[in-house]
């Protein structure tokens, strides 16, 4: 059985369970944990504010996830402590900038926020963290760069996963 098959089986199982037990919060109080994907694009900035508004009005917990992209040539690049240190520093700086921005936004809205940083493919990491944090809804920015991802935009992939309501902020 390939990886794809086993994932699909698992997805089908959980989907039918959801249908039976109504695990979505729809029709009740709305989502209690909202996950928002953030990066340094304009649309994701707007997504952050939109999600913060949702969280404030609904008294939901807000989780901001920043996934640092993997440089395309990284695995082919020469390595060593100096290279790894530079990569780590660049990642940490970007992550702490994003964290500071998220926390400033949260203060402005008077809500609390959990900031999580990850590294790798945005879809894979957001899916993983959404599962781990039991997110009820996901908010992301619309892709600003047309065709910048080979496998479709992050938002489309999240919608296709069919596991959470996904809000795409233009």
């Amino acid at each position: 059985m390939s990886k794809g098959d086993s994932e699909r089986d698992k997805d089908d199982e959980s989907k039918s369970k959801w249908l039976g037990q109504g695990e979505f919060e729809l029709g009740t109080d709305g989502p209690s944990v909202i996950l928002v994907g953030v990066d340094d694009t304009v649309t994701s900035n707007r997504a952050g504010f939109y999600a913060a508004g949702l969280a404030r009005r609904q008294g939901a917990k807000l989780i901001a996830v920043f996934v640092a992209p993997v440089p395309t040539m990284m695995s082919a690049a020469p390595t060593g402590a100096a290279v790894l240190a530079a990569e780590m520093q660049a990642h940490d700086e970007l992550a702490s900038q994003m964290r500071a921005r998220a926390e400033a936004g949260a203060r402005e809205f008077g809500i609390s926020i959990t900031f999580i940083t990850a590294h790798g493919d945005a879809y894979t990491e957001i899916k993983r963290i959404a599962n781990e944090t039991h997110a009820d809804a996901i908010v992301v920015g619309a892709s600003a760069k047309a065709g910048h991802r080979l496998v479709g935009s992050l938002a489309v992939r999240l919608v296709r996963a069919g596991k959470w309501p996904v809000t795409v902020v233009p």
Binding site: M74, S75, A81, A82, L84, A85, A118, G120, R128
Partner: protein, 175 residues
């Protein structure tokens, strides 16, 4: 930095030799030599005093089989040597930075942690964390083990601050 300050040990194991049947890369099984090498790794870890408190293993079949067989060897060498294992999808296809982020998330009550992963990530992590740098990453054959000694917390793990305590290939483990 003296050796007594090295309170943590990171054991990096590259999966044993794999076979190439017509299946997806993630589902490739171990080859015959891999199935022979993997228990040897476990026995060596036990005999050398590197019994992991926890194991983080790639979800790829060749890595899972490597750990399952190594666990048998470890239990042979050390009674009760059966550390908990977490199968982690992020180890599969992880870049060296991805692996470092995993290491920085480890729990501090786990002093010796074994990661069963893939090249080039495993070799690059061994080289990137260690000072002075050991052999180039091309010299990290299947079923080889690098043991790194680290000071401080897992969260504070930084490049170039670990000591290479051991680097062993399967042939050396048998002697």
């Amino acid at each position: 930095m003296t050796d007594t300050e090295l309170t943590r040990r990171l054991v990096l194991l590259r999966h044993a030799k794999s076979d190439w049947p017509d299946v997806a890369d993630h589902e490739r099984p171990l080859a015959k030599r891999g199935r022979r090498d993997a228990p040897t790794v476990g026995r060596w870890l036990g005999k050398s005093g590197y019994v992991p408190d926890a194991v983080v293993c790639s979800t790829a079949r060749r890595a899972r089989e490597t750990w399952e067989l190594a666990a048998v060897g470890l239990a042979d060498a050390v009674r009760g040597g059966a550390p908990p294992v977490r199968y982690e999808p992020r180890v599969y296809e992880a870049t060296v930075l991805g692996l470092l982020m995993l290491v920085r998330e480890l729990q501090d009550d786990q002093h010796t942690v074994l990661i069963v992963g893939h090249n080039p990530g495993i070799a690059e992590l061994a080289v990137g964390l260690t000072a002075p740098p050991p052999e180039p990453p091309s010299a990290f054959p299947t079923a080889s083990v690098a043991v790194l000694g680290l000071a401080g917390t897992w969260a504070g793990t930084a490049p170039g601050e670990a000591r290479l305590l051991a680097f062993v290939v399967p042939a050396d483990m048998r002697s």
